[in-house]
Symmetry: none
Subunit: 405 residues, 2 copies
């Protein structure tokens, strides 16, 4: 926060545009001892060429040894210490579906679930992954019937069995126990109880919401109840657009990333499709309109989580030909990195730092010959907290005044 104020006092109009390309879960691990990582084994002549002209390094997006969730990882990439700005998952979900969240709102993740009609024990935490259409039907029912005095309630479909609810009233805080038992066949949904003094009002509303929802959904099948988790009060963040004198845009196809981008003041653009080609075409269409672009490529992470080595490699190779198109737009700064590592051999997010390269008109290339974990380890950015990335990008676009005389 303190450093954000330093940057804010030094901000000036950028002398060129910044493009930040984030491959989700980019970092990886060798699958054979001494072998290449996913990134190192990809054929990506354009990314490698960019590396030879870039400053390279390794980023810790949350902290050394910490495995980042996607929300905190992106906050870190956007320059906000995720350990200071703790954004709950409910909030990211609500923002991701474009809900017009307001400061003070309490957002909660909802999973439709199946309970045993006699014992109320949770038998399926995802209600057989119901269709999104069915989800929408149930959400309509809930919005129609649910009434909580003194509190506005907004239930919204996310996807399949996932939804979210936003409570709007004064004094709603998020110290509340989750109702998801995290097990099946053992216990009913747990009670929503306040864990601190100021969250009593919100806990009461959550409990009442759960009671009414169970009643309303009782005769539905298989989604005859719901579970609450990821309570998150929305405290407005200092905006990227205010810390720096720049208009920011996000190009991302997944709700979560669109959500966190809008949270820091980016405008979320409509790519008109979900492919990498659609995303780069969107960058080209809007290049004149903004100073800072965040372009998010999701599938590297998805394949990493599946343990699909070839799939992950292919996503990198698929994106590679678009690098020259991004360069052709003439940005002052073009950076490529990930939000965290998702090594195929682990099939999950990991704590390994992510490679980063920053090409800039006024950059000082450091001699890396390829874009990969090992090459980046010897780069001039060093191994650094990701929160330093945006200031460095802005500096290279000449968007910060001199500090002191």
């Amino acid at each position: 926060m303190e450093m954000l104020n330093v940057y804010r006092h030094l901000r000036k109009k950028l002398e060129g545009k910044i493009v930040l390309i984030v491959f989700d879960g980019l970092g990886g691990l060798p699958r054979t001892p001494g072998g290449p990582t996913e990134l190192e084994s990809a054929r990506k002549p354009n990314l490698d060429a960019l590396a030879t002209e870039s400053m390279c390094g390794l980023l810790d997006t949350v902290g050394p040894g910490l495995t980042p969730g996607s929300g905190p990882a992106h906050l870190g990439l956007f320059g906000y210490d995720p350990l200071e700005f703790d954004i709950g998952r409910g909030l990211l979900g609500a923002l991701g579906i474009g809900f017009p969240i307001q400061p003070g709102d309490l957002a909660i993740r909802v999973n439709f679930c199946t309970v045993d009609p006699r014992t109320a024990v949770v038998t399926d935490r995802r209600a057989g992954r119901i269709s999104t259409e069915k989800n929408e039907e149930l959400v309509a029912l809930l919005n129609q019937k649910l009434r909580i005095p003194g509190c506005q309630v907004f239930v919204r479909t996310e996807k399949e069995h996932r939804a979210c609810v936003v409570f709007r009233a004064d004094d709603l805080y998020d110290g509340i126990t989750e109702t998801d038992p995290q097990s099946v066949g053992k216990e009913p949904p747990r009670p929503a109880v306040a864990t601190d003094g100021r969250s009593g009002k919100a806990a009461g509303i959550a409990a009442e919401f759960g009671r009414q929802a169970a009643e309303i959904l009782r005769d539905q099948h298989p989604a005859n109840n719901l579970l609450l988790r990821g309570y998150a009060r929305y405290e407005k963040l200092p905006l990227l657009t205010e810390t720096y004198d720049m208009r920011c845009a996000a190009i991302a196809t997944y709700p979560m990333y669109r959500g966190v981008a809008s949270l820091v003041g980016m405008e979320v653009l409509d790519a008109g499709g979900e492919t990498i080609a659609d995303e780069f075409a969107c960058l080209e269409r809007h290049f004149a309109d903004y100073d800072f672009f965040f372009l998010h490529i999701k599938k590297t992470d998805s394949y990493g989580e599946d343990g699909n080595w070839d799939g992950k490699v292919h996503v990198i190779e698929e994106a590679d030909p678009f690098i020259p198109r991004a360069r052709a737009l003439g940005p002052a700064v073009l950076a490529v990195t990930g939000d965290h590592s998702t090594p195929c051999v682990l099939k999950t997010h990991s704590w390994h730092p992510v490679p980063v390269m920053v090409w800039a008109r006024w950059g000082r290339p450091d001699g890396a010959r390829v874009f990969g974990e090992r090459a980046c380890a010897g780069g001039s950015l060093g191994r650094m907290p990701a929160i330093h990335l945006v200031p460095i990008l802005v500096a290279h676009a000449q968007g910060l005044e001199k500090y002191g005389a």
Copy 2:
């Protein structure tokens, strides 16, 4: 501050001497894509030989992405976080001319200026860059005639149109608006007004000073008024000589650097001349008398700001033959770095980190073959905040006890 206390508790008598050579604005950028920087293109066999026996790295003197002013940059190099120890320019100016500043003094930069005699509008913010002799004449006049009840006033010549004034009284704080309008032909000097509750007294004195000065200078030409900026109260810093058990000396020809060195407890030596040769001769003369030497070479920055590539390269080449003379003195530690980058292609200070090398009797060389930005990027010091440098130098001179048991 906290870390300074840690070092202070561990300090012990050094087992050898430390020499820190600072080339102002040393870091640079290639002038052709893929080409060498100023430092990389210089013929400097002795600096390169030193690099092969040194630990190398890159320093951020204020912070990643931040372009340092000279004052904050040097504070960083001396181990003081410039974001915590915020030293105003007025103070650096006063110290630079050797004014015996005392804690609580308020120091202010003065520019003689020209105003339209009828409208009082500022027509030249530098009074046609009057000679230093004329400046001295006006300063004598001001010191003779100015009287402010309850406050001692010391006006001192700096150079050409630049002077400084120090107010000495109780409770003088520096939250005061600058009177320099930063434009010509538009407005008179602005009023000096307090911007916080505790600076009212000092603002009143500054306003009265401005009023009397305008009166005294009225019939002078072209310097018929003055402008005030860079208000800075002197809060005593923890001294380098107290943090570590070492006597410190500064060899620097420019006022600003002599000033910041004295601020942290260094004795400013008289080099008896302004050349690099004079500075190294001074080092040799005084080598027995101190434990820590800061030797400052200014012209790399001056040529960088002029965009004079050959000039900047030449300063490095001119200094190179003195490296063996410094080594011949037998220091325990010999470090070479810059305070910030001043790339010729930018003609100004920049945010790029500065190369550093630390040779030490008990050092662990890391295999760099030359002293340059790229070689240092792969060095064992990594990319680090400059505040870590002095503790590392002192450690290599065996001046810090073990921490804990």
